[in-house]
């Protein structure tokens, strides 16, 4: 189709000098675009290199154990020691918990929008979800601090806390002496709401790509809605769904302001999901302004930033790889 259009347009091309001029314009445009593309790569490379150079003194001082050392003591004397384990643990656990909370709801939304909702409702609900994705994270942070924190404190911790802690085997993950309401759990809850629209939108898009003939065949042999979704839609879209979840995970890992407001910012290994914790992004945001240029502390913060970059990069690369068939 496109080829025939191009062929039919060819005879009307300007001749002589004007063609020359336009070929110069084409070249210029081509190189400008190429430059823009290269600029992105250069920027990315420059960020990695800057982070790594900044982190070098900390990596040289602590080596690989930086990653699993829980010691983080910025007091500048013999006590000074930096290890990233608490922040890395907090980052990964809060993001994974957020996924655990968000995925079932996102699945419900996507399922509703593609299979159940009347067509006049699909667009408004879909738009509402996309709008949620556009809310600035500071708003989620404030809302989290003023609404979710007291809610977790009063309606979850004080109401169910003891019952949860009494559960056999898994009780210890709910047992805490921290009643401030700011905790790993609260942070995960706020993060879950933040990443929900991304996951829900991806799921809806990939669910819609299931060829109708597959679903109709399943309905035709008497399958129920649930059987169609679990037997046809999910197997068909499984990999893309996981890719969408990974995109949400990527966002959760790097979120800073909203998390800082509600996680409790404690550089201690949490024993329970109701304990205060911290994430890489919060530690960097909180500590960076007071770190002296060239100090070991600043270097340790660069090192954490570098590790966050690596973690996010791996997650994003994994999601791209899983989504590759859908992104073509």
């Amino acid at each position: 189709m496109q080829q025939t259009l191009a062929a039919s347009a060819a005879p009307s091309l300007p001749t002589g000098e004007r063609r020359k001029a336009s070929s110069f314009g084409d070249k210029l445009f081509e190189w400008l675009c190429r430059g823009a593309g290269i600029l992105v790569l250069l920027t990315l490379g420059a960020i990695i290199v800057t982070l790594f150079i900044g982190a070098l003194p900390a990596f040289e001082r602590y080596g690989l154990p930086f990653i699993w050392s829980t010691e983080w003591n910025p007091v500048e004397d013999h006590r000074e020691a930096y290890g990233g384990a608490v922040a890395i643990f907090g980052t990964i656990v809060s993001a994974i918990l957020a996924i655990v909370f968000a995925v079932p709801i996102a699945f419900g939304i996507a399922f509703y929008l593609t299979e159940l909702a009347p067509s006049w409702l699909k667009r408004p609900v879909g738009t509402a979800i996309e709008l949620l994705a556009a809310v600035p994270s500071i708003i989620y942070g404030m809302w989290g601090l003023f609404v979710v924190v007291p809610f977790v404190q009063m309606n979850i911790q004080l109401t169910f806390g003891e019952a949860l802690a009494a559960l056999p085997l898994i009780g210890f993950i709910f047992e805490t002496t921290n009643f401030a309401g700011t905790s790993l759990f609260t942070a995960s809850l706020v993060l879950a709401i933040m990443i929900l629209p991304f996951i829900a939108a991806t799921m809806r898009d990939v669910f819609e790509q299931v060829p109708p003939v597959y679903k109709e065949s399943a309905y035709g042999v008497g399958a129920t809605r649930w059987e169609v979704v679990s037997g046809v839609v999910i197997p068909y879209t499984r990999i893309s769904v996981v890719g969408g979840i990974m995109l949400g995970l990527g966002r959760a890992l790097g979120e800073t302001m909203a998390v800082t407001f509600v996680i409790g910012n404690a550089n201690r290994m949490p024993a329970s999901i109701f304990d205060a914790s911290t994430t890489i992004a919060s530690v960097v945001a909180m500590e960076f302004p007071e770190s002296l240029a060239g100090s070991l502390k600043q270097s340790a913060l660069f090192a954490l930033g570098f590790l966050l970059f690596v973690i996010s990069f791996v997650v994003l690369a994994a999601s791209r790889w899983l989504l590759r068939s859908r992104l073509k």
Binding site: W72, N73, P74, V75, E76, D77, R79, L145, V149, P150, Q153, T177, N178, F179, A180, G181, T182, T260, F261, G264, N265, A266, N267, R268, A276, T278, S282, A285, M286, E287, P289, E290, S291, L292, A293
Partner: protein
Amino acid sequence: MALGMREAVAQQVTITGAGASFPRPVYERWGTQAREAAGIQLNYQSIGSGGGINQITNRTVDFGASDAPLPAEQLRERNLLQFPTVMGSVVLIVNLPGVQDNALRLTPELVTDIFLGKITRWNDTRIAETNRDIRIPNLPISIAYRADASGTTFTFTTYLSRVSTEWQQGPGAGTSVRWPVGNGARGNEGVANAVRNTPGAIGYTENAYATVNRLITTQLRNKSGRFVRPVMETFQAAAAQADWSRPGFAADLIDLNGENVWPIVTPTFILLPTNPVADRVAGSRNSMRFFDWAFRSGAQAATSLEYIPLPSSVHDAIRAAWAEQVRGPNGERLWPISG
């Protein structure tokens, strides 16, 4: 008349400073007043003491501001002159339903053990012993501290290190430390909010912030064994004992002796290049003019924000230091300003 006004506008100069957030309210107030009174427009960015030190070391601003004094050798290395501007204090804030403002009495031992996590409930017998006359609700203690590195934390942890060897050898003193228990919140407002939201919470904040927001503060037992309230009178009693003769005017007002002394008071400092480069000479000179104006006319603004002005003898010593140490590119004195 019109001509005079035009001249005044023409003389308007701008200086830039960056650093500590602890004295931000008073610097901003001075800035507003000095624009009219002295023709100096102050652009102050409260990016934190560490950031202030970085920026003045790189000479990207006219002056830096730090809550913690820099050691003398660091001042020499970075070619900086350090001088104090005002003093401020740190207070404890609590959320205990039924307990009035400044009613709860705390001893240094109680404060340390609470922040070490050794006392976990408000009905602890040791708290009850010092507070026989008030009813304290039986609540778990929630601790709120500054999550962002800050001068307020430096001052408070310096106090804890001074009154407790266990704290000194444990978490120690710094702009951020390894807190054994509690939750971190961002900024004075974050700590205040965390305390307000959680019954049974205790935190610390800069006094000016606590006063403006009418937070419930506590009494504290000072080194002389007296319980004192965090009010202007007890801050001034501490300020009166300061020893300003130390290098860089680094007076230490933490846990001083004296019956009426509030034990957590600290000066806050300005850092000025001793060797400003040619295009920064005007900025340095105007910074000195600004603080000279503030020393002469800014006391009332400082007091109304609950900061404690310096005694005039210290002002004179600071002006003498400007004259002695701050030199232009050709070795000329930049203070006093001639003509």
